[in-house]
Symmetry: C2
Subunit: 149 residues, 2 copies
C-alpha cells in the first residue's frame, strides 16, 4: 500500500524550509508542524535576518501552530525538523506539550538529547529521518561560507 | 557610599514588569536587560495574551535587547529576571552569550539549575536577589487564580 503521508513526506517539507533558510544565508534548518496529515505551520531559521538568537525554525513553527490552532498547547501535533532541536527549542516544545518530535540529523554538540533537556512526559522523540539530506545541506552551507570568507 | 545601581535596583525594575504581567492575568514574571547601568530591554510574561508558550519575559527581553544593540549577541549584558529561567530561556541565553544572569526566586521544578541546562561558558548566574518579593507575587497570583475558579 502506498502511504503518501509518512515521515519522509513531511520531512521533505521541512527540508524545503531548510533550503529557504540556505537561500537567505541562514544556517539551513527547517521545520513543519502537522496535525492529521495537514501542515499547520512552517518555519526556517532566521537568526541572522532577524538579528535574534531565538528565531530558530522550531520556535517560529511553534508560535505559528499555536496561532493557527487558537490555543498554546500542541497536544496532537507532530513537529518535523531537519536538525535535532537545541535546548531552547526542546524547552519550548516541553511547554507546548507536543505529541511527537521527528528530527533529521543529530546535533551531537548542542542537541537536546546529549544535553538531556527535559521533554514533556507525553512527548515522543525520534531521529534519523532523511538525516543524510539534512546533514548534507548543513555541510554544503558551511563549506560555502568558509570559501566566501 | 550609596550605590544606586545595584542588583536590587534593577531587580525592582524586573519586579515592575512582573506586576505588569500580573495585571494582565499572566503568571507574574518580569525581566530587564542592562548594559553599563542602563536598561536596554524589558519584558514580561505574555503566554496567555499572545497564546504562545514561547512568550516568556526573558525571550522578549532577549529579542528586544538584540534589536536595541543591532546585534544578536548580548556579551556585555546582564539579565535581571524575577524567576529562575526555564530550559527554553536558559537555552536562548546560551545562544546569546550573555555575560550575567541574576534571578530572584528559585523554580525548583522547572528551573534551569535543577534541570542542568547548559549555559555559555562566559555566562555567570546568581539567584536570590529580592527572591521573597518575587515569590510573594507568584503566590498571590496563584491564590487569587484559585479563588476565582
Amino acid at each position: 500500500m502506498i502511504e503518501p503521508f509518512d515521515d519522509a513526506y513531511f520531512m521533505k517539507k521541512a527540508l524545503q524550509e531548510a533550503e529557504a533558510a540556505y537561500e537567505k544565508g541562514e544556517i539551513p534548518v527547517g521545520a513543519v508542524i502537522v496535525v492529521d496529515n495537514k501542515i499547520i505551520a512552517r518555519g526556517h531559521n532566521l537568526t541572522e535576518t532577524l538579528i535574534d538568537v531565538t528565531a530558530h525554525a522550531e520556535m517560529q513553527a511553534i508560535t505559528a501552530a499555536a496561532n493557527f490552532l487558537g490555543g498554546k498547547y500542541l497536544k496532537k501535533c507532530t513537529l518535523y525538523v531537519t536538525l535535532e532541536p537545541c535546548q531552547m527549542c526542546a524547552g519550548a516544545l516541553y511547554w507546548s506539550q507536543i505529541s511527537h518530535i521527528v528530527y533529521g540529523a543529530r546535533d551531537e554538540e548542542r542537541g537536546c538529547i546529549g544535553l538531556n533537556t527535559k521533554l514533556h512526559p507525553k512527548t515522543t522523540i525520534k531521529g534519523g529521518v532523511m538525516a543524510n539530506e539534512a546533514s548534507e545541506l548543513m555541510k554544503r552551507f558551511f563549506i560555502e561560507k568558509r570559501n566566501l570568507n
